[in-house]
């Protein structure tokens, strides 16, 4: 308890002192899971204007508001037709247990949306429970095989991840059990550090050829996504379009990870809000907006976040951390097990330890039993239903009969930073910082 009158160092708050002393004791950086904990400008810094004298709303409970979206119709013969514009992000079997992957598949399928594999390949359970499954092609190529490629509904070439643009995957030895090791062709119990670059292509010109190969192997049926971490989003999006992507997935710095260095999570990449605007600008300048679909992820939590992302120009969003939380990640259960990890509900980022108290991010059979895939699937379905209802509520309030008719004109910013990043006016003004109208 802080004594009255004591003044904390602004440069050295207690958390910083703790980290300096931990580093002095252990001599190694901190590894952890989930996404950035620092405050960054985000969708909470925007609000919708709603209907007014010059705009009229739709009836909240009577008039239809479409939520469906088609992803990947640029080149693919069989694009994905999803009922809602909220997809489940790539999370590996290995990082998550089989029950968690099963639950994600059940919840997403019941809502007519897609799930995504991760670094480590496709499991039978995941394919079985997922109506629409996106198969990731990562630098490690763990478990990659053409049979699974053909079983997938879409293919996502992962160039980067919002939590760590420029970094490869990491899965510590305690999570590499016999099954995970077998799928990855690695010895059990080693600290698995995946490559950060693809083994057989460098740069967008090569990637274009790689995509051609993937299409040849899958008869040009599957939509090809390119996933990038939010960094140079304007150029990355333009280059992804040039390389032949059907869909660009843009993952902001708030996006989670199973494990990586804390310094990487907190200090590399840019917030989702700023990255999204840059990506939409690139698509519009290439006249490819809505032709190459844009999925944005990284810190999406509510229907309001979804609505704001769509209003800024995204075609769909993807959720990872929030989906885990719907399965009880950081829930106020099994408190003693959180304490053993030196944390408590609401603060836990210990996915890397494999000791997940709620059985989501673990390979321990006893802990895994704490997550019933059916119940988890039901919880995820409820959560996705809530997001969808919130999204429709906001769309109708702005007079839209389709959620993708939301537009930047419906938004204003509450902070100067958010106004500059999202390029919408500061509330009550017509001022967009850094933006000059052309003469």
């Amino acid at each position: 308890m802080k004594k009255k009158g004591l003044k904390e160092f602004k440069t050295f708050p207690q958390s910083t002192i703790n980290e300096i002393q931990r580093a002095a004791k252990e001599g190694i950086y901190q590894i952890r899971g989930l996404g950035a904990k620092r405050k960054v400008p985000d969708f909470d810094d925007l609000v919708f204007l709603g209907a007014s004298m010059s705009r009229y709303p739709l009836e909240g409970y009577r008039e239809k508001c479409n939520t469906s979206v088609v992803l990947g119709d640029r080149f693919a013969k069989k694009p994905l037709k999803l009922d809602i514009p909220i997809t489940i992000a790539g999370m590996s079997f290995g990082a998550l247990g089989a029950n968690a992957k099963d639950a994600l598949g059940r919840g997403a399928s019941s809502m007519g949306t897609s799930t995504t594999t991760g670094d480590g390949g496709m499991t039978k359970e995941e394919r079985g429970s997922s109506k629409y499954l996106v198969y990731q092609l990562l630098p490690s190529r763990y478990g990659m095989n053409p049979d699974d490629l053909r079983k997938a509904d879409a293919i996502e070439v992962v160039v980067g991840q919002g939590a760590k643009p420029g970094g490869g995957g990491m899965l510590l030895g305690q999570k590499i059990n016999k099954r995970v090791a077998g799928m990855r062709t690695l010895p059990e119990g080693i600290d698995q550090r995946s490559a950060c670059r693809h083994p057989d292509w460098t740069g967008p010109d090569d990637l274009e050829i790689k995509i051609q190969e993937l299409r040849e192997i899958t008869n040009w049926e599957k939509p090809i996504y390119i996933k990038v971490g939010a960094a140079r989003s304007y150029y990355d999006t333009a280059l992804a379009v040039k390389a032949g992507a059907d869909v660009v997935v843009l993952d902001g710095m708030q996006g989670g990870t199973a494990a990586t260095q804390d310094v990487f999570i907190e200090h590399v990449g840019i917030p989702t809000l700023g990255a999204l605007k840059e990506a939409v600008d690139a698509l519009k300048e290439l006249n490819m907006h809505r032709k190459v679909q844009l999925i944005v992820s990284g810190g999406i939590r509510t229907g309001a976040d979804v609505a704001k992302a769509l209003a800024m120009g995204a075609d769909a969003v993807s959720i990872g951390s929030a989906a885990m939380m719907a399965l009880n990640c950081n829930a106020n259960l099994y408190r003693k097990d959180y304490e053993k990890l030196g944390t408590e509900p609401g603060y836990c980022h210990h996915c890397h330890t494999g000791r997940c108290p709620v059985g989501v991010a673990t390979q321990d059979p006893k802990l895994e039993k704490r997550l019933d895939p059916k119940e988890g699937g039901r919880q995820l379905k409820n959560y996705l239903t809530t997001l969808t209802l919130e999204l429709q509520t906001l769309a109708r309030a702005n007079g839209k009969s389709d959620v993708r008719n939301l537009e930047p004109e419906d938004l204003v910013a509450l902070t100067v930073e958010a106004a500059a990043m999202a390029r919408v006016p500061l509330a009550g003004t017509n001022w967009i910082p850094g933006f000059k109208e052309k003469d």
């Binding site: 252990e26 001599g27 190694i28 490690s140 190529r141 990659m144 095989n145 053409p146 490629l149 030895g173 062709t185 690695l186 010895p187 119990g189 080693i190 600290d191 550090r193 490559a195 083994p199 057989d200 292509w201 090569d206 050829i209 790689k210 051609q212 190969e213 040849e216 192997i217 899958t218 008869n219 040009w220």
Partner: protein, 226 residues
């Protein structure tokens, strides 16, 4: 059956070869005028024999399953990448990342292979009768990379359980890669591979390299090794 890439689209040829009619007895095919096309014979999945007369571009025979593909020419980046099974023979030289991430089967390159040959290989056998470029067998997980000539810098960097055999000189070894004893088991393994591929070579002329396994679990004392 012969295909001519000057007359027929690559996609049509690949589709035909990927969906062979099992009732047909035609199992041998030739492709003329490859002219550096990419992804020729990608995704084959049946026990067929394809000969390509000329040079190919990237990812020739990528993700091959069961098929035998012979290239009478040079190949571009990523020949037989992620191959699962079957055989790929290159009569000329290979560009970068030959046999990258391959899970199984045999890749035989008569000439040289450029950098990153066998990168992240996962069970494939790669035989290079010439020399290999730098960073070959980088992060190689399983399988055998057999080099008749020399190996450039950083051979086997961050290698896992793959084995490397070199008859010529090695310019330098990468992190955690060490020379190992050419034991009876390894000699027999090479003999078996050579016999299967009709290669006349004495396994005892090769040196063996593999992982020191010091970097399998991150220890701060080893940070300087990277």
């Amino acid at each position: 059956m012969n295909f001519d890439l000057n007359k027929k689209k690559l996609t049509d040829i690949n589709k035909y070869l990927q969906n062979i009619d099992r009732k047909s007895n035609v199992r041998k095919f030739k492709i003329e005028n490859p002219s550096g096309h990419h992804a020729i014979c990608a995704g084959l999945k049946d026990d067929i024999d394809v000969t390509i007369n000329g040079h190919t571009g990237y990812y020739c025979a990528g993700m091959n399953q069961k098929a035998s593909v012979t290239v009478n020419g040079n190949v571009g980046t990523g020949v037989a990448e992620n191959m699962m099974s079957g055989k790929v023979f290159v009569k000329g030289n290979a560009s970068q990342s030959a046999g990258a991430t391959g899970h199984g089967g045999n890749l035989v390159i008569e000439g040289d292979a450029s950098s990153r040959c066998g990168i992240s290989m996962k069970g494939i056998n790669i035989i290079v009768k010439g020399s290999v470029g730098h960073m070959s067998a980088f992060m190689a997980q399983k399988g055998n990379l057999i080099i008749f000539g020399d190996a450039d810098e950083d051979l086997g960097d961050s290698i896992y359980e793959a084995k490397i055999f070199v008859k010529g000189k090695v310019k330098s070894l990468g992190a955690d890669c060490v020379e190992k004893k050419m034991d009876e088991k390894s000699i027999n393994e090479l003999k078996k591979i050579f016999k299967e591929l009709n290669i006349s070579e004495n396994p005892q002329n090769f040196k063996r390299y593999g992982s020191a396994r010091k970097l399998y679990n991150f220890k701060i004392d080893n940070a300087g090794a990277y």
